[in-house]
Amino acid sequence: MTTTTESSGRPPSPPPDSQPVLSLHGVSKSFGAVSALTDIDLEVFPREVVALVGDNGAGKSTLVKVLAGVHLPDSGEIRFEGRPVHVTDPSTALGLGIATVFQDLALCENLDVVANLFLGQELSPLRLDEVHMETRSWELLHELSARIPSLRTPVASLSGGQRQTVAIARSLLLDPKVIILDEPTAALGVAQTAEVLDLIERVRERGLGVIMVSHNMEDVRAVADRIVVLRLGRNNGVFEATASNEELVSAITGASDNSVSRRTARRTQAAADATDPASTPTPTEADS
């Protein structure tokens, strides 16, 4: 199996002002016989949105969990603001300033929304400041156009999208330096998705690094500065946000040489057109 081909897209030049806020080199992680991640390299700069894409089981969530301190990597190096760090548990990651929204959300269903938002960072630990926490929660959720009737009901009673909003709001509470979002818009409605994409841009403007995992190429292209493709647990190319759909799809699904595969696709398409024009309802894309 071939890995990244240089032709598949030159990594765009990083923002000139800085070093990566978070970088990984040669990170590997296996679960028993399954190598979920092999030799992963990844860099996130401040003021940058990196989209992480790949097929189901490509290892995106595993990578997210390694960064969040949920899983320990078997080998490789993680640097945060240039310093090598050992992210041994989630509290270390949070302490560094890495906030994560997990794919499975990781909320406590028995607690209410306010308690979930502030879990682990409650205001005044010996005399919880519920009033301040609740007003802050409303502010935060309004920012996300959340449609949550009451913050004092257990999270168990919320819809999937409402929970996702809560999980996203929680990641913002800590004033982190890097935000990692694992499929943040998967369950969201139209307005909320737009809000989250806006929010990602706002967060970027504040100078944060953002890693966003998504299967939705439209969302990815809307906000990402760079698109990193994982395939079967390995790096499979880095693309500009302007990369074409075919380029991305073939990197995700594993065609080794994109230009070749694109040509083949075009040629077979043309052949099909010639033999049976009626069978192709959509016109072939013009290539300038």
């Binding site: 969040a68 949920v70 548990d89 989630p90 509290s91 949070l94 302490g95 994560t100 997990f102 990781a106 909320l107 406590c108 269903e109 028995n110 607690l111 308690a115 879990l119 682990g120 960072q121 409650e122 630990p125 010996l126 005399r127 919880l128 519920e130 009033v131 301040h132 609740e134 007003t135 409303w138 449609r147 949550i148 009737p149 009451s150 913050l151 004092r152 009901t153 257990p154 168990a156 009673s157 919320l158 929680r170």
Partner: protein, 418 residues
């Protein structure tokens, strides 16, 4: 349209912007909200209070002595030991774990107290502190076995049940029991010291006033922040009811010997634990770990230290309960902490409304639950029923309590309020 109308009469609260929310304002609103919660399976203290009324009515009709001041004072005395143990059980149940060895640990603690104080001549306070510390060490050992080796808590504590019963027998040696000196502060505390009537009344008034003051302060600051707050009328009404209840109880007990100080200490511990569970980050973390351990870990909570705190508190309360029991019986014996102590402590917590499934519980469940358990035990003793029947009935009550817990849990899941 209705939205704008409401805005004109009263400023819209930031937590009442969603039109789908039922508006529960004022006293009537509080009552409606309560009714809705109960239907959704969030029963709170309701089943216990109903159960208690039934139990008291039945025993009172069978034996008029049951509700006499004298008998109720005895009942309160008998609540303290197992009640304190049950307070510790609430801590471990909150995490969805269990401690089956609290009886043995309480027995061990009473043996340590007897040996150090009576046999070795230690000051009584030092002996008591040593006994509680021994309990804390037991909890620490459990927590290490649980955290490091992933041993299920029921296995660890089942092993502890036998081991510490053995230690208790070893400490007590051949004689098998040590009599604690009558007339000593410790024994008086367990049998004879009561609050002077005036003090008891003052405490009752302070408790009601305190509950009103704290809730009024919260309501006022919510009001200032633009959040919905419980109305002052409702709070005053609630505290008024509490005050009347407390005054009636104190008055009734004062017709006999009065309110035992030991019970006062137990109630004080309940209040402290209630504060810790509801108003501190530690309490919030306990609920979180009990509800979803992995989510709590990912939120940065030190899950292992939460387990340590719960096991240590549980065993320490068990040891303290053992001391209360020794004071009550004026002896450290081989029987201390055996028999139904274990089960009663666990049953009390569950009957009081702490869930066996973790993530739900409160300190008052130990208080309410133990009053139910002791009422049954006391009533059956008054009827001269043998302990065999007592065991069977207590077992049945525990089964019913667990059934209510499971059903309420199902209903909560159906109503979206796990």
């Amino acid at each position: 349209m209705s939205g704008t109308e409401r805005t004109r009469t009263e400023p819209r609260r930031i937590d009442r912007l969603d039109d789908r929310l039922a508006a529960d304002e004022g006293v009537a609103g509080a009552a409606r909200a309560f009714g809705r919660r109960v239907r959704a399976g969030d029963l709170g203290a309701l089943p216990v209070v109903v159960g208690l009324i039934i139990i008291w009515t039945v025993f009172q009709t069978l034996n008029p002595v049951f509700l006499s001041s004298n008998n109720l004072v005895n009942l309160l005395f008998d609540c303290c030991s197992v009640g304190v143990i049950s307070l510790g059980i609430v801590c471990v149940l909150m995490l969805g774990e269990i401690d089956l060895s609290v009886g043995s640990v309480s027995g061990m603690s009473s043996a340590i107290l007897g040996v150090l104080w009576v046999n070795h001549g230690w000051p009584v306070l030092a002996a008591a502190v040593a006994a509680v510390l021994a309990g804390a060490v037991v909890g620490l050992v459990y927590a290490q076995l649980f955290n490091r080796f992933g041993m299920p808590s029921f296995v660890v504590t089942l092993a502890g049940l036998l081991a510490f019963l053995g230690l208790q027998l070893l400490l007590l040696g051949q004689e098998g029991s040590i009599n604690l000196p009558f007339g000593s502060t410790m024994v008086n505390f367990g049998q004879l010291v009561f609050m002077p009537p005036v003090v008891a009344y003052i405490i009752a008034v302070l408790a009601a006033a305190g509950s009103f003051a704290t809730s009024a302060v919260i309501a006022a600051s919510r009001e200032r922040a633009g959040l919905t707050a419980k109305s002052m009328t409702f709070l005053a009404l609630r505290s008024g009811v509490v005050l009347v209840l407390l005054l009636v109880v104190v008055w009734y007990l004062n017709r006999d010997r009065g309110v035992p100080w030991m019970f006062g200490v137990f109630a004080g511990l309940v209040l402290v634990m209630n504060y810790a569970f509801t108003r501190t980050r530690w309490g919030r973390s306990m609920h979180a770990v009990g509800g979803n351990r992995e989510a709590a870990r990912r939120a940065g909570i030190k899950v292992k230290s939460i387990y340590v705190s719960a096991f240590v508190l549980c065993s320490s309360f068990a040891a303290l309960g053992g001391i209360f029991g020794a004071a009550r019986l004026a002896s450290s014996s081989q029987q201390a902490g055996t028999g139904d102590v274990n089960l009663n402590a666990i049953a009390a917590a569950v009957i009081g409304g702490t869930s066996l499934f973790g993530g739900r519980g409160n300190a008052f469940s130990a208080l309410l639950g133990i009053i139910v358990i002791q009422s049954i035990s006391n009533g059956l003793t008054l009827l001269n029923l043998s302990s065999s029947l007592r065991f069977m009935i207590t077992g049945a009550v525990l089964a019913v309590a667990v059934m209510v817990d499971s059903l309420a849990r199902k209903s909560r899941a159906a109503h979206g309020a796990a």
